[in-house]
Symmetry: C2
Subunit: 210 residues, 2 copies
DNA sequence: TCTCGTCGTTACCAGCCGGTAACGTAGCAC
DNA sequence: GTGCTACGTTACCGGCTGGTAACGACGAGA
């Protein structure tokens, strides 16, 4: 137990123990850390990801991560918060007036899939990961519940009297779960063209909105 | 650091430190522990459940759990293994010959939902939990992949030339994810009658098998 | 060239939790 | 009664990991 090493000469002579990471501006480093964290959280979930690994993936050491983010939880929530309000937008500004139900659904699905492709990490953090303490689970739950409710409202509006009211919620749940799972499936298969996914999804969604 | 306490007289006098659990046969105790573990694993997932909590829920202490199960992982996998082969059975022995597609689908859904009601813990362990090391994740993945493939084969057979082959797999993925999520939703809402869930599910499944 | 703020490092602590050693004791077989 | 076996307990260890203290050094501005 060496209590205090002689302050000068960190390594013996000429052999640097660890390659020092080049010094860059704080903001930029913060983004690199956030990027690495997103990748790891998406792959291994909150509980399965260690701060040490995030630091290594960002090519720095742990205290650097803690300089930019107060805790593991804050880092995770900061990443999720960037996408908190994205989901409802797919159904929001859509011209449901003059367009056939079929083309309308396809347009929405295409926009949504483009988003998933561009933000796969956030999607996986939201819908693949289930770990974390109560606060984290509550956050994810809030986001996905909002998505489900927006979809439920959309269904109720489009389907009208065709669907008994007590079936709106289970149908919305079925669709959000199914679409979330389909998106995760697609994220793992970059070779599958978007049109195939749109087609498969449209076939299932159609009976709920018409 | 008391190295060795005097062997006799564990508590001072007359005040039992912990109410000793009544002694019962090993097999029966093992089942009680498995039952408690199933409840906790279903609610909090693998990583979120502590062996100490399982022991407490079974009204024993930790070493008793370890007498019946070698490790946390073995306990978890033992619970899952009981249901490993259940999923394909819903589509297996069904008389697809003389029955309309609609009644056939409804029969399958009803049998499946009855199973979910009776085995909610296993269902949640399979489809809500995502934590655990590689071996555990591989086990769950194998089970749900099997389910998806069986469903895909069913779709391919029923839909026939109606559906392009490259859409069979994403459709199966969409349905398994959707149905799994719907089941979890229903588990949390015992007041919802089975018929409502069957109706909502049938509406979505129909276009894939006809 | 000197100084100071920020970027980066090493080495460490503390708490949680899976797992175990060692020890009691209830009750069935005889 | 008296063992003997299996059921049950207390008390502990060790590793993993989130988080921190203390220190070093690069580089922009004076």
């Amino acid at each position: 137990m060496a209590t205090a090493r002689p302050p000068t000469a960190p390594a013996a002579a000429g052999a640097p123990t660890r390659r020092r990471t080049p010094r860059i501006a704080g903001d930029r480093r913060r983004e690199l850390i956030a990027l690495a964290a997103g990748r790891l959280f998406a792959a291994d979930g909150y509980a399965g990801t260690r701060m040490e690994d995030i630091a290594a993936a960002a090519e720095v050491t742990k205290p650097m991560v803690y300089r930019h983010f107060a805790s593991k939880k804050e880092l995770y929530l900061a990443l999720l918060a960037r996408h908190e309000d994205d989901l409802p937008t797919f159904l929001a500004d859509v011209d449901s007036a003059h367009a056939s139900a079929d083309t309308l659904v396809r347009q929405i699905l295409e926009r949504w899939l483009d988003y998933v492709r561009a933000n796969g990490h956030a999607w996986a953090m939201l819908f693949r990961d289930h770990s974390g303490d109560d606060e984290i689970q509550a956050f994810r739950r809030r986001v996905s519940l909002t998505a489900r409710d927006v979809l439920a409202a959309f269904i109720a509006e489009r389907a009208g009297a065709q669907m008994p009211s007590e079936q709106v919620e289970p149908t919305a749940e079925l669709l959000t779960s199914g679409l979330a799972g389909l998106a995760l499936w697609w994220i793992d298969r970059p070779e599958v063209p978007r049109s195939v996914v749109v087609e498969a999804a449209a076939r299932m969604v159609a009976p709920a909105v018409r």
